[in-house]
Amino acid sequence: MKEELFISGRANLNIDPVLHIWHWQIPVYLFLGGLAAGLLFFASLYTVLGKEDKYKTAVRIAPVIAPFALVLGLFALFLDLKHKLFFWQLYTTIRFDSPMSWGAWTLMVVTPLSFVWVALHIKDFFPNWDWKFKLVIQLEAWLQKNKQGLAWIILIFSIILGVYTGILLSAFNARPLWNTSILGPLFLVSGLSTGAASIMWLSKDAKERKLFSQIDLMLIAIELFFIIHLFMGFLASTEVQIEAAKYFLGGQFTFSFWVFVVGIGLIVPASLEIIELSGRHIPVAIPAALILLGGIIFRFIMVEAGQVTRYLY
């Protein structure tokens, strides 16, 4: 038997006995970032496909959540910083090796774009809206004319934003649970599914609801496949990753992960949507809320559990 103990008593705050340097702010941001990515993705996708009028909620109404989600998420990230007054240092450099640097700049691009997108559709909410200044009116007209181009840019950046939430974690090789390339796609799909769920919830059009219900079902199936793939990968990997998987296969996160994330967050809403699609009526709020809840619990568990997994001691 091998046992390793600190005898000089290393007890650095938030490092020992288990790492806990990232608190609620990070999973909250990861959720809001993923949600915004999902909403912007579908808004720009259906604009690019020329179905703006067919899927009004997706293109015109739901994206109004995105800038709020991003601003709240950025605020959560700011709260997480321990040396807050130096936050501007993020924007004095671009570091290609650092996913967090990429993410900071991506947010710098996506957040204003999300405001622009909402501004272009503000007359849907306030029909008498007046931009007042001539320059703003001209700018708005120009953007309306070039909306396809804008949609393409947002489409690309929404995917980067969604993948980034996972890559941020997967780039840390010191935390075996995070150190898997499947995390990027998994977080992207999860973010898209929370976006689709919100659109489904907000939509008053039966056809649009049905489409996003189907999209959600497909995304849930992909997510389940990625989750199985994640654990298969861990179990076929090195000792530290096998140990990481054990936290979910009998260890302390087993119940919360399989019941709340996989059960209540994926399988139950998927079943409800299948029942709905087969003709029986189920209030759309139930599966949509469960997907959103599952999404946020998933991020809390991944951030918490990842910090528990380590190489030494």
Binding site: M1, K2, E3, E4, L5, F6, I7, S8, G9, R10, A11, N12, L13, N14, I15, D16, L19, I21, W22, D80, L81, K82, H83, K84, F86, F87, Q89, L90, T92, T93, R95, D97, S98, P99, M100, S101, G103, A104, A171, F172, N173, A174, R175, T238, V240, Q307, R310, Y311, L312, Y313
Partner: protein, 177 residues
């Protein structure tokens, strides 16, 4: 120039003098430490083997903390010493997450702090505080590029290991075994 440290696990008695010397020399905030002692017990009684190790930042050649840092606050100094510019650090914790040795911590003032190999002493030609106080002389510090440095000579003649080599960080603190 490549600074490195070799620590003789057969000579270390785990007295923690290095820990206290570091805390004093570097004014480490109370309750924190930049180096620490690990006791590794292997086997079943009565066949037991004990290894004592004084551990600290490994000043890795392939430092994940320097790569993870979004602002460039974590950087390499001359001789490969890994250090943090306090006024560039935003306290995001990316470097702390990236370190497989958990050698970094968040200083109460907000920036991230860690072992500096006592750069302020080394640049004057002195040894790091921990090395200079060790009562059993079990720690060796020096330049790996210099064949005659203490550390090069020990690594030439003794068997050694590094911690978590599988993490791919190429650590520069060697343990003589």
């Amino acid at each position: 120039m490549r600074y490195a440290m070799a620590i003789d696990t057969l000579k270390c008695v785990g007295c923690s003098d290095c820990v206290v010397a570091c805390q004093t020399e570097n004014n480490v905030p109370i309750g924190y430490c930049r180096d620490w002692i690990v006791e590794a017990v292997d086997g079943t009684y009565p066949q037991l083997e004990i290894e004592l190790r004084s551990e600290r930042c490994n000043h890795c050649d392939n430092s994940p903390c320097v790569r993870a840092c979004p602002t460039g606050a974590s950087h390499y100094k001359e001789g490969g010493i890994v250090a943090v510019y306090h006024n560039e650090c935003i306290g995001c914790g990316a470097c702390i997450q990236s370190c497989p040795y958990d050698a970094r911590y968040s200083h109460p003032e907000g920036y991230v702090d860690k072992c500096t190999f006592c750069y302020h002493r080394v640049e004057k030609g002195q040894k790091p505080a921990c090395v200079s106080v060790c009562p059993t002389n079990c720690m060796y510090f020096g330049d790996l590029d210099d064949e005659n440095s203490d550390v090069s000579r020990m690594l030439k003649t003794r068997k050694y290991k590094v911690l978590a080599p599988e993490a791919g960080t190429k650590p520069m603190v060697y343990y003589l075994i």
